[in-house]
């Protein structure tokens, strides 16, 4: 369970570039929740993820994961509990290392003595099976350098690496946005499958309103550093994109004018 308590963040305070990215965010993500996050550029979606993952410290407020206050925990210390994926597929894997070596980084981390062999035959076999489940043919190319793979393949690997240690929270920051539609579909399917199997609480940023309403069990919408809509349950089940736009207009007193979100309907 993730609890955000009165989270605040202002970038460049006291300058002309002052920007309030998070305004008093109070939010709870329950176990079993798969929340999709909508919002236009600069709404604070990625900043919210940054505060949770520990890229920076919030100005005020607290981040609690399973009851433990992790607000000021160093990034690498909370990373084992939080899996995170970014839009850029190059961010999650080491290009000059092989598929097997990359997976080994995530696979054996913290479970073994640092000077133990990173890749045992048994690990390799387990990884091979997990990769085979992706249906991308990666399992036959374990000794290939990751830099030679496509963006979709790298993103699928990153997903496996982020979830193999059974994290307590999964953050997906538009992780399929840089992929071609067919690959994006596939990576999304793998994502849904992993989330379902591991029952890991998940937040996924997307700009596609239709898939935001279709995937998961909860949709939140951010604007100017605030969560303005939080839709779940029966209401969400019946909701279409047009209803969402009406809810937005009703709440904000204006029409949504984000091309990227509107065009991807």
């Amino acid at each position: 369970m993730l609890e955000l308590k009165d989270l605040q963040k202002t970038f460049a305070p006291g300058t002309v570039n002052e920007h309030t990215a998070l305004k008093n965010i109070d939010f709870t993500l329950n176990d079993g929740d798969f929340a999709t996050v909508l919002g236009s550029n600069g709404a604070g979606k990625s900043t919210l993820f940054g505060a949770i993952a520990g890229t920076f410290w919030p100005d005020a407020g607290h981040v609690l994961l399973d009851g433990e206050d992790i607000t000021y925990l160093p990034e690498y210390r909370r990373a084992r509990k939080i899996g995170i994926l970014f839009q850029d597929p190059l961010k999650g894997t080491a290009p000059d290392m092989t598929i097997a070596e990359n997976l080994a980084l995530a696979y054996t981390h913290g479970r073994r003595f640092p000077l133990a062999r990173a890749l045992t035959r048994r690990d390799t076999e387990e990884m091979r099976q997990k990769l085979a489940a992706f249906g991308m043919g990666l399992e036959d190319r374990m000794k290939m350098k990751v830099g030679l793979l496509s963006g979709g393949q790298r993103q699928a690997m990153t997903l496996l690496m982020a979830t193999v240690a059974q994290p307590r929270l999964l953050l997906l920051d538009e992780h399929t946005a840089a992929l071609d539609p067919a690959t994006a579909e596939k990576v999304l399917a793998i994502t849904v499958q992993i989330v379902r199997e591991q029952k890991v609480p998940t937040m996924m940023i997307t700009h596609n309103m239709a898939s935001a309403l279709k995937l998961g069990n909860r949709t939140i919408m951010m604007e100017q550093g605030e969560i303005i809509l939080d839709i779940a349950g029966e209401e969400r089940g019946r909701m279409q994109v047009d209803d969402l736009l009406k809810r937005y207009a009703g709440k904000q007193g204006k029409q949504l004018d984000n091309d990227r979100m509107l065009l991807s309907r």
Partner: protein, 301 residues
């Protein structure tokens, strides 16, 4: 023949230096200038231990002192946030004093007539002859360290260090402590560099405070020459190619000097030119390719 033999002996001993440079420049992707100080530190530590009658322990001291020096640079980079190049320069500069202190405030220590490990082995392995022993020591040490490093970079810690050099953004958002990995990597790198200094000191029979000057370029030249032959491939081959590069570098240098065209003091200039030329090859190639395209484009216009 004598020329080749000498080059092989020196090349293997300086091969440790080349592997150290390979670790910092290629694996960690950090331009680490500590080498100039840590090499001399290895020279000094090994020489002083030899003077007190423990040449073998001297090698161990050299390695450990080098690791400490590398760790200092790593700490300056990660915990204090000093730019990588400046951090190396600071350590190198500070080491000058420390090296003098190790050598008893004298800039030169002679080991002539002292029981260096070579002297010990000359008597123990008399049938091999002096050159044979020198070759054996250099080769054994290079192979030993090579195997140890190959193993190390396949362990979990080694993998984490490689990942830090390969994609730091990824490591920072993972559960690996990237600062610790940089410190560990720089420590291993400078340990090898100092070990190289340690064996070279006993080989040449003296320690000099200026031993480390230009040593970075020597190591870099070896790495680049090795890559010219082996290409840029995995870590295992990369480490091996650093040693081979070091031997080839010594052959080139001794050939250049034996022609009597260059006096001995030209050594550093030749090394610098080799590195500069080798590093400029990709850009020159790219420019030539562009020029060709433009010429062909114009002729079709």
């Amino acid at each position: 023949m004598a020329l080749l033999f000498g080059s092989l002996q020196l090349g293997l001993m300086y091969g440790l230096l080349a592997m150290g440079i390979y670790i910092s420049f290629r694996i960690l992707n950090i331009p680490d200038l500590t080498a100039e100080g840590s090499f001399t530190l290895g020279v000094a530590a090994s020489a002083m231990a030899t003077l007190s009658g423990s040449p073998w322990l001297g090698l161990a001291f050299a390695f450990l002192c080098g690791m400490a020096a590398g760790a200092v640079t790593g700490l300056l980079q990660t915990k204090v946030g000093i730019h990588a190049i400046l951090a190396g320069i600071l350590t190198m500069s500070g080491l000058y004093t420390i090296n003098l202190a190790v050598m008893g405030a004298s800039s030169n220590v002679s080991l002539i007539g002292k029981p260096t490990l070579f002297q010990q082995l000359f008597t123990a392995l008399a049938p091999l002859g002096k050159d044979g022993v020198k070759l054996l020591v250099g080769g054994a040490l290079a192979i030993l360290v090579l195997l140890a490093l190959i193993w190390f970079f396949k362990t979990h810690l080694g993998l984490c260090i490689r990942a830090t050099g390969d994609n730091e953004a990824m490591v920072r958002s993972s559960s690996i402590n990237s600062s610790a990995m940089k410190i560990a990597g720089l420590a291993v790198s400078n340990g090898c560099i100092a070990l190289s200094g340690g064996i070279v000191a006993q080989y040449q029979g003296y320690a000099d405070i200026t031993s480390g000057i230009g040593i970075l370029v020597v190591g870099l030249a070896s790495v680049i020459i090795g890559e010219a032959f082996f290409g840029k491939r995995g870590v295992t081959l990369g480490l091996l190619s650093a040693i081979v590069g070091s031997v080839i570098y010594r052959v080139i240098i001794s050939l250049a000097l034996s022609t009597n065209v260059f006096p001995t003091y030209f050594l550093k200039l030749i090394s610098a030119v080799i590195v500069a030329v080798a590093l400029s090859i990709p850009t020159v190639r790219e420019n030539m390719r562009k020029r060709r395209i433009r010429r062909e484009g114009k002729s079709h216009a």
